[in-house]
Structure formats: structure tokens, C-alpha cells
């Protein structure tokens, strides 16, 4: 049973403040943070861009942001917003479908097809048997022998609970993503075969997408949009050729990712924002979801609207008067979060430990100390100089090391009408290695 928000006790507060669950659109805990994040409303911006795209062209948008900045919440709102604007938006959770330790563009394309097939079934739209059969046979011929196919189907029933009532294509796609995810040696083989037949694969895929779009239009939809979330979580590793796994997917294979006949939104790792080639591959500027602004760029002048919005993020979940010894403690946590919603949630959780009747100053200070220790652990000695530079200059030099600091949230990015700036996470100011060098 869902609790009634705001909750009244410390134990309920722990469960109400979950740092990892993206809120579904319409959740009572949702607080619009758009205006305190530099003004742009992601759902509105992207929907407008799509609406303005001339027929026959597709809008391809990249979105990024710090881990836990509320990306997934925003993308789920985008899906709702697009549906309200009559776009058939398909939300693809890459984390659930793909092996993020090892992703190629082929895995992404296969995942898109799979989710489309599923979403259409939900709408009672059936793809013409001929097209399904084409792709089906293509998979059957290229990828699997009949015998392997039966093996896969048996395995599927066991692993995924996908029964025989599912149409063949969905099963086949599940089999492909299933195998791609499972990390078996078969994956390499499947990819090699897909690669060799890529042109045919993309053509078949697009025949399916084109057909789906026609059917969707007949049902009154404006068009189809894919929202691919979670790709920013893919593992970062340098590759022998000097690229990284990140640039290999988004830069080197941008053409393939863009080859699908549909509007598409991909999330990308924040480490790529400095990659100049990404801008060539995807000409529309990458949308960055910044942290909530809680001070002006000088770091001293408080920005009340941002602070109040984050206070509300807590107050929507937790009855501050009942659970906190004083309201000041929430303000303290808001400051310590640096404007990161995830860290605010985590701080609330940490403050619950050891508290019985209510959260007192000692619990809040302990929580802040712990967050400081966590960030201290992420920081390497050779990061110190760059962090001090950023603390002084309030900007991030465009290099790989900065990308790493952003990725780990050691450095936070902010935005407002005057532009973008950055600062080190306030928790770092507690670190014995930094506190004497950057000031409180």
C-alpha cells in the first residue's frame, strides 16, 4: 500500500526518500525544478523541437546530466507530454534491456525494435504478417538455425516467462536481446552476423518502423518517438585505438544510431559533453540537465527559489514539523546537497539512521559527515589541483579528467540565464585533503 505523503515518522521518511527510484509522471512527490535549473523545460523543449521538424525529417536529440539529477523523471514526463501532444512515445529502458558493460549500436537498434513491437501490441496494432515474417525469417536465416531457435525459445520460457502466446517476432527479438544481455559467447557471433548484414537489417527494421508509423497515423497519432534512457550508464573504458567505449558508441557509430526512421532521444554520458566530434555527429545541441541552482555563481549569495524548491522536494515526502526537530535542519541538508536531488534524498536517508522519535541536529551532522567521507573516497590525489582550480574559477576545463570528475559528481554544473558555471561538490569541502586549500 502506498503511504500518504507527506509521511509522519522517521521510519516512513526513510522509505519516502529513495535516491534511486525515478518518479513516475503524476507522482504526488513530484516538484517541478525546471525554473530553478536554468529555465529550460525538457519535455516542452523537446516536444517543440519535434513538432517543428518538417515532415520527412527526424529530430535526433541527445540528453545528458549528472547521475541522479532527475533525468529519468524528466524523460518519463517527456513521454507523458509527448503522448498528450499526440506522439506515440516509446520509452526504452536500456539498463533493463542491455548489458551496459558492453554495448554496441546493434544492441541498441535491436532493443528499439523489441520495445516498439511490445508497445504496438499494447495499442492493439498488429504489424502485417508479411513484414513480421520478413524480419523473422531474416533473423532465422542469419542469426539462428532452426535448432538453435528452439533452444532459445525453451530457454526464454524458463528465463523470461515469455510463453508461446507471444508472436514470433517478439520472441525472436527477446531472444536476441536476451542473448546479447546474457554475456554469452554467442553474442559476439550474433553481432558479427548482424554487422555483415547490417544494410539489410536496417532496411528491414525501417520497413517495420515505417509501417508502424503509417498504422499509428491511421489511429490518429502524429508520429512515433523513441526515448532511449539509461545509455549514459554504460561502462566507461578506454579502447586500444584511443577511443573510449562512450565515444565508440555515440561518435563513431552516430550514423547507425541515426539511421532509424523515427524521432529519437538518446541519453549520453556526461563525460561526452566535451567531445567536439559529438557535435558534428548530432548537430542539435546536447541538452544538459544541470543541478538545481542554490546560490549565485559567487557561491555566497543564496538563491532562494532554488533552495525553496529543494525544501519542497523534502516537504512533499516528509512532514517536516513532525519528523525533523527543526526546519533549519532541512535547510542545512539542502545546502549540503549542492543542488543534487539524489544527494538530498540520500542525506535524508542517512539522517534517519540512529534517529528514533525525530531527526535531530546530531543525525543531520552525521549524515553530512558520511556524505563527505563518501566523496572523499572518490577523489584521487591527482584530482586535487584540478578541483582547486574549479573551486576558484567556477568553470570546468574541457578535458578527460574533468569529464571524470563530472561523471563522479565531484564537480557539479549549474545554469541560469547568465550562462553555465561549475563548482566542486560541497561535501568535498569537508575532506581533510581539501578543506585547507579551498576554504569553507
Amino acid at each position: 500500500m502506498d503511504p500518504i505523503y507527506p509521511v509522519q515518522t522517521v521510519d516512513e521518511a526513510y522509505h519516502a526518500c529513495h535516491p534511486d527510484l525515478a518518479l513516475e509522471a503524476g507522482d504526488p512527490r513530484y516538484i517541478p525544478l525546471t525554473s530553478v535549473r536554468g529555465g529550460f523545460d525538457l519535455p516542452v523543449t523537446i516536444t517543440n523541437n519535434i513538432r517543428r521538424t518538417p515532415r520527412g525529417y527526424f529530430h535526433q536529440q541527445l540528453v545528458t546530466g549528472h547521475r541522479g539529477c532527475g533525468k529519468s523523471t524528466e524523460l518519463k514526463r517527456l513521454q507523458t507530454h509527448l503522448r498528450e501532444a499526440n506522439y506515440f512515445a516509446v520509452y526504452v529502458d536500456a539498463e533493463a534491456l542491455l548489458d551496459l558493460g558492453d554495448v554496441t549500436y546493434l544492441d541498441v537498434l535491436v532493443a528499439l525494435t523489441q520495445e516498439l513491437e511490445q508497445a504496438l501490441r499494447g495499442e492493439n496494432i498488429r504489424l502485417p504478417p508479411s513484414l513480421r515474417k520478413n524480419l523473422d525469417q531474416w533473423f532465422a536465416n542469419v542469426i539462428l538455425t532452426e535448432e538453435q531457435r528452439r533452444d532459445v525459445e525453451r530457454a526464454l520460457e524458463a528465463d523470461f516467462g515469455v510463453g508461446p502466446q507471444v508472436p514470433a517476432l517478439a520472441r525472436m527479438l527477446a531472444a536476441i536481446t536476451g542473448q546479447i544481455r546474457s554475456g554469452s559467447y554467442r553474442r559476439v557471433e550474433i553481432r558479427r552476423q548482424l554487422e555483415q548484414n547490417l544494410r539489410v537489417f536496417v532496411q528491414r527494421l525501417n520497413e517495420l518502423v515505417d509501417d508502424a508509423r503509417v498504422r499509428l497515423t491511421r489511429k490518429g497519432w502524429n508520429d512515433l518517438v523513441f526515448i532511449v534512457d539509461g545509455l549514459e550508464k554504460m561502462h566507461y573504458a578506454p579502447l586500444p585505438d584511443g577511443q573510449s567505449t562512450h565515444s565508440a558508441l555515440f561518435v563513431a557509430h552516430a550514423e547507425q544510431l541515426k539511421s532509424i526512421h523515427s524521432h529519437v532521444i538518446y541519453t549520453v554520458p556526461i563525460s561526452l559533453v566535451f567531445n567536439a566530434n559529438l557535435g558534428d555527429a548530432f548537430p542539435d545541441p546536447t541538452l544538459i540537465i544541470p543541478m538545481v541552482k542554490i546560490t549565485e555563481p559567487d557561491g555566497r549569495t543564496l538563491y532562494e527559489p532554488g533552495r525553496k524548491a529543494l525544501f519542497q522536494v523534502v516537504a512533499r515526502r516528509v512532514d517536516v514539523a513532525k519528523v525533523m526537530e527543526s526546519e533549519d535542519l532541512v535547510w542545512r541538508l539542502v545546502e549540503a546537497s549542492g543542488g543534487s536531488v539524489r544527494d538530498l534524498m540520500r542525506l535524508m536517508r542517512l539522517a534517519c539512521y540512529g534517529a528514533t522519535d525525530c531527526i535531530r541536529a546530531t543525525h543531520v551532522e552525521t549524515a553530512i559527515r558520511e556524505l563527505g567521507r563518501e566523496y572523499d573516497r572518490l577523489m584521487q590525489d591527482d584530482d586535487l589541483d584540478l578541483l582547486i582550480f574549479i573551486a576558484q574559477e567556477r568553470r570546468v576545463p574541457g578535458n578527460e579528467r574533468s569529464a571524470r570528475l563530472l561523471h563522479l559528481r565531484l564537480v557539479l554544473e549549474y545554469q541560469d540565464d547568465s550562462g553555465r558555471w561549475a563548482n566542486i561538490h560541497p561535501a568535498l569541502r569537508l575532506s581533510p585533503r581539501l578543506k585547507d586549500r579551498v576554504g569553507a
Binding site: G101, L350, C352, G354
Partner: protein, 438 residues
């Protein structure tokens, strides 16, 4: 963000044990916790206490010896009660410092299997030493970022002291002959203590120095020379900070031994001379004698025989004055080798026999074995094959009894001797197989 933060030290903080217990009570379904506990021996005590405190089942999973982390955790979760908490130990064994490829694989798997861990639907507490936790934080940041609490458990003072005393109790020589597994277990305890003793007080830093030295010697005896050197350098740093000159001299001497073992004679010479200078200043005669002896070996190894002889004689003189019989026996053996190297077999035999006599009196079996083997080579060189065979067979038996790796070498020498009349080239091989003293 400029936040007026209080210095950490002045905060009134809630104890992490209490917070951990509360977190484990609160967690429903999936939750990820990290518990930093550097000393497994203390962990067992704490877990027993937690189990008694919690009103829910605790399932313990030890990953040591498991090929892969996730399947082991999933298995344990699958067979556990719905409200069970899982304690996962030993992830550090999947993050070996000597095998970065393996460590990377483990970390990558953690990062992308986040969702799979979540689907287990149980609170997971990973118990890790500090260094492994830092690796997870930096190299699997997405996984780490999911945590709902990192609890840092410090071993209480009395337990910590007891563990330290335990870890330092065995003398280095006795420790050097322990089985490999036993050495590794001791290293793990020492690594934990190394993380625990981080305080600034004199006592803490002194303990840290002892722990580092002990770890260095263990690594050295396991043949992990780069680890040993890193730890000796760390020890040197601490000893210098403490103003512990005797400690500095001792560490420099050990660094010299290490460099010498790796064939870096130039550096070895520098370390020894520096050590010698300090020992002389401090009037540490025993230290002086030891370092002179090693300088002699170094000179001998580089063919400077007269210099070597001079250094040995000086070392011998001091050892005799101090009544250091073990030192005397070792240097006599070395003088024997020097005489043998320069073709003075008669004198060599005298030195060896004298060394052997003392070692037998002292019950130094390893020393007896080495000198006996060296005597065998001498007899063989003089053509006394029967005597040589008799001696080498005895040395081989002694080495076997000690579990020494020299046993194999002695066996090969015995076989050569048995074949000698037919083999002219055997002589050369004997020289390359010359046995160095302890």
C-alpha cells in the same frame, strides 16, 4: 556552493555500529550498504552481535574461492527467507592488486549488473576493507552511487591492540619459513591493521611502522619484491617522520638487501652506506656489523675480492667483540666462499668447518645445510668425489627436512657429482649453482 561547515572533529556523531543496525532494521526489499571493516577477525564478533540484535534472518555469503561474485550472491538470495539480509564478504579476493585485469573485470561486472542485484529483492551489505571499498567507489561508480549507507567500523582499542600483538608476535625468521597460505593469511591481518592505525599519535605511528615492516618482510619472503619495496619506502617515510634514526638505518639496510636481490648493485651500495653511516653515528655496533657483512657480499658479487675480504674481516671483528656467534658463523661462511672464489681451497675449507661448528652448536639447521652443501662443492672441485657425494647427500636431506627450495638445487648438484667422471663441463655449472648463505 559555499557552505558553512563545522570541522569534522567537533561534530557529535552517532556511532556507525548503531547506524548500521538501524539501517538493517529499516531496509525493505533491495537496498545496498557498504560496511568498511578492515579486520575480518573483528567482523565475526560484530556480526554475531548484530545477528542477536536483529529480528530478521542474516545470510552470510563468502566470495573467497567463488569464481564469480553475482552467482554466489544470487544463489544465497534464492534460498533465503523473504525478509533476510545478505552479508557479503570477501569481494576483495576478486580485486587482487597483482591482477588488474581480473580486478577490472569484477568491477565492470558490478557496475553493469546493478539491476540484477536489485532484482534479488534483498538488502545487501558488502563488508570490505578500505582499499577495496575505494576501488569499488572509483571504478564501479554507478554501483557505489546506489548505496543507502556506507558504515565505517573501527576496531575498538583493546581488540585492535590484541590483534597487533598477535601479528607481531612471530619473529621474522620463523615467519619466513611458514607455508605460503599461512603467510598470505598473516598479510591480510596486517593489511587490515595498516588501515586501522591511521591516527596521528606517536603510538599509532609506531604501530604503523611495525606493521609496514612486517608486511614488507612477508612480501619479500613471498618474492613480491615490488610490494616489499613499496612498503619499505613507506616504512622509511614513517621512521623519518618519527625521528627514529635506528629505524631508518634498519629500513635502509633492508632496502639494500632488496636491491641486491634484484641485482641493482648500485642502489644497494647506496642504501647500505647510508644505513652504515647512521648506525655508526648511533653507535649501533650490531647494525654496523650486519651492514658491513652485506657490503662484503656486494663487493664479492661484483668481483672486488680484496675489498670484500676487508669488509668481512671488519664485520667479523665487531661480531666477535659483541659475542654475536650467529653473525660470526655467517661471515665465516662468506669468507669461505671468497677463498673458494680465489682458488684458496685450503683456507676455504677451514672457514667452512669453523662456520659449521658454530652453526651446529647454535642448532641453526638451515645454516648447517648451506655450509655443508658449499663444502661438498669444494670437495668436488678438489676431486674428492666420494666425500663430496656424502656431504651433498646430507645437505639435501637437511634441506628436505626444512622444506627449503634449495633441496632441488642440492639434488641437481648430487646428480652432477654422480656423473662427474664423464662430464668435464660440470665444473662450470657448479659455479653458477653456488649456494648463497641465508
Amino acid at each position: 556552493m559555499e557552505v558553512a561547515v563545522q570541522p569534522i572533529e567537533t561534530l557529535v556523531v552517532v556511532d556507525d555500529r548503531e547506524r548500521l543496525a538501524h539501517a538493517l532494521r529499516l531496509a525493505r526489499g533491495f537496498a545496498l550498504f557498504f560496511v568498511r571493516c578492515n579486520v575480518p577477525a573483528y567482523r565475526a564478533e560484530l556480526v554475531a552481535h548484530l545477528k542477536a540484535q536483529l529480528a530478521r534472518p542474516v545470510v552470510e555469503v563468502d566470495l573467497e574461492g567463488e569464481p564469480d561474485a553475482y552467482p554466489a550472491v544470487a544463489r544465497a538470495a534464492g534460498s533465503s527467507a523473504e525478509d533476510a539480509v545478505l552479508f557479503v564478504y570477501g569481494l576483495e579476493h576478486h580485486l587482487p592488486s597483482g591482477d588488474p585485469e581480473r580486478a577490472q573485470q569484477t568491477l565492470r561486472a558490478l557496475n553493469w549488473r546493478r539491476a540484477a542485484y536489485q532484482r534479488l529483492g534483498r538488502p545487501l551489505a558488502f563488508w570490505l576493507p578500505e582499499y577495496a571499498l575505494a576501488m569499488v567507489a572509483r571504478e564501479a561508480p554507478d554501483f557505489y552511487d546506489w548505496n543507502s549507507g556506507v558504515f565505517e567500523i573501527e576496531v575498538p582499542q583493546p581488540q585492535r591492540e590484541a590483534l597487533l600483538a598477535d601479528a607481531l608476535a612471530l619473529p621474522d625468521e620463523a615467519e619466513a619459513s611458514l607455508p605460503v597460505e599461512e603467510k598470505r593469511a598473516r598479510l591480510r591481518l596486517l593489511e587490515g591493521l595498516w588501515e586501522e592505525y591511521r591516527g596521528e599519535s606517536l603510538a599509532e605511528r609506531q604501530a604503523r611502522l611495525q606493521v609496514a615492516l612486517k608486511m614488507a618482510r612477508l612480501h619479500e619472503s613471498l618474492g613480491d619484491y615490488s610490494q616489499a619495496r613499496r612498503l619499505y619506502e613507506e616504512s622509511l617515510h614513517i621512521a623519518e617522520e618519527l625521528g627514529d634514526r635506528a629505524g631508518v638505518a634498519r629500513v635502509l639496510h633492508n632496502l639494500g638487501v632488496l636491491a641486491q636481490q634484484q641485482g641493482d648493485y648500485g642502489r644497494a651500495w647506496q642504501f647500505y652506506e647510508e644505513s652504515l653511516r647512521i648506525s655508526e653515528e648511533l653507535g649501533d655496533r650490531a647494525g654496523v656489523a650486519q651492514t658491513l657483512h652485506n657490503l662484503g657480499v656486494l663487493a664479492q658479487d661484483t668481483g672486488e675480492y680484496s675489498r670484500a675480504r676487508h669488509l668481512y674481516q671488519e664485520s667479523l671483528r665487531i661480531a666477535e667483540e659483541l659475542g654475536d656467534r650467529a653473525g660470526v658463523a655467517t661471515t665465516l661462511h662468506q669468507l669461505g666462499m671468497l677463498a673458494q672464489d680465489t682458488g684458496d681451497y685450503g683456507q676455504a675449507r677451514q672457514f667452512y668447518q669453523e662456520s659449521l661448528r658454530i652453526k651446529e652448536e647454535l642448532g641453526n639447521r638451515a645454516g648447517v645445510a648451506i655450509t655443508t652443501a658449499q663444502l661438498a662443492l669444494l670437495e668436488e672441485a678438489e676431486g674428492n668425489l666420494e666425500r663430496a657425494l656424502e656431504l651433498i647427500t646430507r645437505a639435501e636431506e637437511l634441506f628436505a627436512g626444512l622444506g627449503s627450495p634449495y633441496r632441488e638445487l642440492a639434488r641437481r648438484v648430487r646428480e652432477w657429482i654422480q656423473r662427474t667422471p664423464a662430464l668435464e663441463s660440470a665444473l662450470e655449472e657448479h659455479h653458477s649453482a653456488r649456494l648463497d648463505p641465508e
